[in-house]
Symmetry: D2
Subunit: 159 residues, 4 copies
């Protein structure tokens, strides 16, 4: 897609995600990045749950929001940036595991929009069970038109 | 809809939401409950932001997830419970304000599914601007078939 | 929005929609066009129904697909064209009336994407009942980059 | 899943779909039925197109509406019926081929809701290209609670 090696681009993505205060608050991590896909996850903590002791739907939504946008970022060309335009998710099984994992895969890259699918799984006693599925549209923008990035210091201080 | 006064039901809803660890982590609050509608919001903090200093899309998604389900809960009959089945959201303006407010309104109540619409606004210098819109399907269940509620003590300890 | 009077633009929209063979096959009509909104509808015929004698969900989906895109077209600037990017619809009441009416309203215009909401109603014995709700994203394109329009003769012959 | 052989159930599905007037109007056909999946398609005709000579988005939506519901019907238990609750589709490539094919696959069966994914392809010069993707929620109902089926004669006369 371009002359910049994927490892270099992956490092850039990780650096931008590290500037997200909410990523730190939730305690999510990037597990894997590849051209066209991304896996992010979070480990069960009491303050990620809802009233029945399951992962809160909002945590699943956050993983989908961020995971699909990160997957889209892996297929950008130099000078492009991404912005989440919209997504739809179905929550269909109790998210009762020890870890919540979101795997996102680009369905269709594009110069204006990138379509990304995501599957969310809970891991319990070493076994995975799918709990949600999603479909997202990520807008591709000229990076120059986007607001400036925060400074790493701001994020660290902000926690 | 039933003989139980709305205030009593609203208190029950607030108590169940108070058992959500993630609601506390995000720091969201219920601003208003009425039959068929709910307003929840969150005040800007550094750890709710993304890399450009805007509210993270995952925070908007969480408010929609929780707000639409809470709005659905306001129209339940005794013995019924709610579970978020699916939703779709469009993020269309930078969420750059001091507060993020989600107003949810039941479009169609039902004995099996409740359809809820939500509008999300940022408040900046006292003026509101809409930043997102959503449409959700909330499943209606027999409360007896749902997992038991957590104890208030568990949540408090879990923070 | 621009120097071209809305009536002139509305005529252009009606001419382009008249080139849609599928609009003729379904037998839908544009009832109303205003800046930011559009109403289209179809009258009950046997070949628009499903197995229980209700309007087929695909007819509702067609009205939403076309109605939201037409509503978006009413807010375009000269030289812009529209393309349906995605939508989500909820079908929540039996579409058992004599007429199916889709009212679409622009929620957020934009230079790249236009967000449109739609409500679908059936009319029965002169009374309306809402049967569906939808949320759509319409892409804004440079008209010059779009494929050429069909000729009016082609469409007429094609029926 | 039950004692009724799949072939018998598939015949029942085909019979009910044959009662859909709109299926005949569009001219779509069921190409394949298997437990958990369905393929339906339509051949290019002038009155299925939009103003640029591509398959109309409403045709894609119809295939998704019907295809996902048919796929859900393949996993029902005796006495159950299906009703399309909601879906979301992304249209991402010009549907310019000779045939439009919708392949639907159950993601998650359930006693109340069945989640189905669909991929839509155009076939041109013997090659397929994906043009749309969708995610649907199909409600499972007690067949006894659904309106009666139309008679085959009604449909034939209605064309």
């Amino acid at each position: 897609m371009d002359a910049i090696p994927f490892d270099t681009r992956a490092t850039g993505i990780r650096e931008r995600v590290a500037l997200q205060g909410f990523m730190h608050l939730v305690g999510a991590q990037i597990d894997e990045l590849a051209p066209g896909s991304a896996t992010i996850s979070v480990t069960r903590r009491d303050n990620l749950l809802q009233q029945h002791g399951l992962f809160h739907g909002g945590v699943t939504a956050f993983l989908i929001d961020n995971g699909t946008t990160i997957a889209a970022a892996t297929v950008l060309k130099p000078g492009q940036g991404v912005l989440t335009a919209e997504y739809k998710l179905n929550l269909f099984s109790p998210a009762d595991g020890d870890r919540l994992i979101c795997r996102s895969q680009v369905v269709k890259p594009g110069s204006r929009m990138i379509i990304v699918a995501a599957d969310v799984f809970t891991e319990k006693d070493g076994r995975e069970k799918q709990t949600a599925v999603a479909l997202a549209t990520i807008a591709v923008l000229d990076q120059a038109s986007m607001p400036p990035l925060r400074q790493a210091g701001q994020v660290a201080n902000g926690r």
